[in-house]
Symmetry: C2
Subunit: 204 residues, 2 copies
């Protein structure tokens, strides 16, 4: 079974490839091109791409469109994802307004909050529902991913409700570690991680 | 030279280790413990840890505190980082209020905006300066990292000014790809990446 790191690298290659294609209008690419763009070793790139059946031609590389198609297919980009944002504060609102989600077939279809001043509002044409209606809206709108941007104190409770409502995955931004034995999938995100990566690169 | 992926994995191990230590109060740990926590291969863990001189004892594993110290040292966590946030909108405000930065010795010391309603305010005891004062404040407060959370249209211009002001690294959240030939370091962050990781895990 493919490691989580390979999946993340393949996702990174697909985005790098789209960037390169958009900026340079190339039709062919070498693993070394992708590798140097990302500051990594090209052997790793070739290894990962061979996992999705892309072996390339020695010295010639890969056809960009063919590689992009294989990556898009591997990453299930044709599967529409309906998402709900729980907690429409500063971070939740920023996510509600973030346009690039759509180009990856990720659609925010509902917001939820407990604050009566926010409930009933439309932000970017998305309705903010009362959290009471969570289970009903998750089912009615076929929401597969719940995003937690509530205060830390509310996060576990909301995660439990999302699990019971049947979401397939949770993306948690609150500063607590959320994990379930089996389902749903949980991605815990801490943006300070990127600041630490930057610090290492500054001082090495 | 160590690959960017190894650095990211080592950072992940350090955080995983801190979580395990906090929750389980263990003094020893095996590479398989870290690996299963992260759903990855333990060989990769041992390889990465050997890079920082941690070889472990066969069958006995590593001493948690010793391993954490080695990781903290490798990651330069003792180096205080001063950060500025450019663009105090929804996302910028959320970052200004995010407490966990401090435990990693990352300190937000200034905000900048162009909106007169925001300039002069204090958010979490951090002053919002006019962008005109960028160069002066960056020097005066010894700011090493600039975070871009402005609209897309302002991002490149702000990045150039940060570069000329002498920041060592930029963390860019605006949906444009920013990159300099040599310096400063730039981390481009697109949160939709995590939604795509979740989608893959849902459908595989
Ligand atoms: N992971 C990261 O890097 C990162 C960065 C910034 C903020 N955060 C975290 O994201 C969360 C939100 O941050 P923010 O600055 O937007 O906070 P905020 O206070 O501006 O927003 C929180 C929102 O959640 C709502 N809320 C409270 N309880 C709720 C519940 N039970 N159900 C639904 N909504 C509820 C509030 O009414 C408010 O609108 C916090 O936990 C914060 O620590 C994480
Ligand atoms: N990377 C991601 O995953 C992600 C997620 C959400 C939002 N974003 C991006 O982050 C940025 C901010 O999003 P938001 O929702 O907070 O937007 P926002 O409109 O709420 O905030 C933008 C702020 O920048 C200020 N500003 C405008 N021009 C400026 C300049 N030249 N210098 C300094 N400040 C300036 C505005 O006055 C405003 O306060 C946008 O580019 C958005 O696309 C990225």
């Amino acid at each position: 079974k493919i490691s989580n790191f390979s999946i993340e690298r393949l996702l990174l290659y697909s985005r790098t490839l789209s960037d390169i294609k958009r900026n340079q209008k190339v039709t062919k690419i070498l693993s070394t091109d992708i590798a140097s763009f990302l500051n990594i070793d090209s052997t790793q790139v070739r290894k990962d791409l061979s996992y999705i059946g892309k072996l390339g031609k020695r010295g010639l590389g890969y056809f960009v469109d063919s590689l992009l198609n294989a990556l898009n297919s591997f990453l299930y980009r044709d599967k529409k994802i309906n998402t709900a944002i729980l907690g429409i504060g500063k971070l939740g609102s920023a996510l509600l307004g973030y346009q690039p989600f759509q180009k990856y077939n990720i659609h925010i279809v509902a917001g939820f909050d407990v604050n009566p001043n926010k409930i009933g509002n439309r932000l970017n044409n998305i309705i903010i529902y009362p959290v009471d209606e969570l289970e009903y809206i998750i089912k009615a709108k076929n929401i597969q991913i719940g995003v937690i941007t509530t205060p830390e104190s509310a996060a576990f409770g909301i995660a439990e409700r999302l699990k019971n409502a049947g979401v397939k995955a949770i993306i948690n931004f609150a500063p607590v570690f959320i994990s379930f034995a089996d389902k749903p999938i949980v991605e815990n995100i801490d943006l300070s991680y990127f600041f630490e990566i930057a610090r290492y690169k500054i001082f090495r």
